[in-house]
Symmetry: C2
Subunit: 382 residues, 2 copies
Amino acid sequence: MSLFPAAEFEARVARAQALMDVANLDALLLTTEPEVRYVTGYLTRFWESPTRPWFVIVPATGQPIAVIPSIGAPLMGQTWLTDIRTWRSPDYNDDGISLLADALGEAVPKGGRIGVPSGPETHLRLPLDSWAALQAALPDRSFGDDDGTMRRLRLIKSEAEVEKIAAACAIADAAFARVPDIARVGAPLSNVFRAFQGLCLEEGADWVSYLAGGAGPGGYGDIIAPATDTPLATGDVLMLDTGVVRDGYFSDFDRNWSLGPAAPETASAYARLIEASDAAFAAARPGATAADLFHAMDKVLTGGAGGSDAGRYGHGLGMQLTEWPSLIPDDHTVLEPSMVLTLEPGLELGAGRTLVHEENIVITPTGARYLSTPAPRSLPEI
Amino acid sequence: MSLFPAAEFEARVARAQALMDVANLDALLLTTEPEVRYVTGYLTRFWESPTRPWFVIVPATGQPIAVIPSIGAPLMGQTWLTDIRTWRSPDYNDDGISLLADALGEAVPKGGRIGVPSGPETHLRLPLDSWAALQAALPDRSFGDDDGTMRRLRLIKSEAEVEKIAAACAIADAAFARVPDIARVGAPLSNVFRAFQGLCLEEGADWVSYLAGGAGPGGYGDIIAPATDTPLATGDVLMLDTGVVRDGYFSDFDRNWSLGPAAPETASAYARLIEASDAAFAAARPGATAADLFHAMDKVLTGGAGGSDAGRYGHGLGMQLTEWPSLIPDDHTVLEPSMVLTLEPGLELGAGRTLVHEENIVITPTGARYLSTPAPRSLPEI
């Protein structure tokens, strides 16, 4: 049932414990889906329900401890974990907090420090009332940031993780290749969105966690809106941006098409986006920084003016649609082999008219490698 | 673009402000997808990215204030809100916190109280570091629970919301009716999951946020696991439990099928599940409590022993797959017209062998109404 051998998780936890040692942390407390899955392999769509809290403790030595609702026991029992403690949730008097406090009390000595991911891109998946109760139950232990431990771990993918992401990208690739079959002049954009998700499933996606896009004459006004029922028209540029999931790992890239011949201005803007992602791809190698990739793209896109309101030109990718780092001037993360990134340049062509483009890459010892077929160099026509 | 008229949101905010007045709150601070969407109508799948925080303030009087990343400005500009403040996110120095603190400082007098949903089923979608920075930036205001304001608001659906949920249920209904076309002996369960999601999309789902299920001889071992590649076999009971989304509202019910004739024990267990949901349906009316529905089902299922490890026999439904209340002995929420609930009885038939059944209902002035075609009274055979 597990999608990775136990050795994969043993290696992750060993890396975690080495970082925790440096950060002087006696345990990590994890509460969110990707955090819990990263150290256990526990994969379920049941997180869609906000009702129940879930906890995993990574102690300074030894295996993680799961403290979870009993409804999750059969599935957690199929992971590599052996210490699984459960309660019947929801419990309005004590929804796992005393069970968790007991487990933390065993794992962490008095005066010890418990790390909880607290920096950018994190949150605590636990009601604030329960969070206060937990801290009150353990007055002799301190809670604080995990000092970037989980970020650092997840930034560098294992070989097995890169393969999973590549498999998701291949599925999206195959679905994008079939878009000319479903996107015709007159088709409502909402139907194209539905049909495209169907293609992703046919090509092997377990589910389609993300689809955004747009269509409009020579560009689209929004890149995060759900689809309207407006029919596609000749002269529209259609963009679809999808995050398909396979074995719990994401793709995240888009493709553009012109419905009928593209206007010269549109064709040239598209070519500039390709030029920008080419420039970032060429700059992507160990030792370069996230900011370097931003600047490589920004030089092509704005002449170095400093980006757009979208806020960034790409990001990390893996167990989530977006992960650290961000391709922005302030992100000085040094690239290392087995980091997986998206390159996502965009251009504002006028009021309510933008074009965006996105590729997924993995950093290699000598440069970078595309995780799917790169987009055509000229805007393809349907 | 908006899926509801402005009057819908004006009514929601008026109800919020009346409850805030009673709770002596000067503002609500909202950070999660359903909370933000409830008062604004802002619908996007972009929440799948954990990178950027989003904020909405509901002041004691007047319209909500959105404090959001600039990438969201075009879409938020299409809602009924007029006060939309943006920053370019991600910003590692100040990811919206000073902009938010300024807005809260305007909306809330010194000494004022800011309510943040803190009870069961809630969380704060914001890094803990940013949460600490926000509180430090506003030393003259206090932050505390919203006293259940958002829970109370969302428990009672508007007529327009009930229609949206019914539309999602009708889509799942139509997809379930087609399962005999895709679920045949020999088909791997993972392929059935993919094909079923395709059916939901064909029937009009905007996306399929949730699908779980199982298959096994006379019952299944787990009701929250993703699908394995194990082929369906004669004698299996197949269960699919889906949450499809249409216009941002969910269905959440399941259906069971026997592959070939069911064993008498299986057929009788299924009949008992139907009897249990019938009993809860008959008890469902204004004035009854969530606990009453639990007991109505538990009497049929266990003779009143008090439930199972799944933890509950149903829950609320709406903008999320699961919402308050929970059908458990400790939930004394009094049912009122326009509450939408799931009835979800389950039976443990032996080690690793369970059966579950689920229906979606709305409370009416005189009783309850099914939101989809009720399941057949005998286990259907494929």
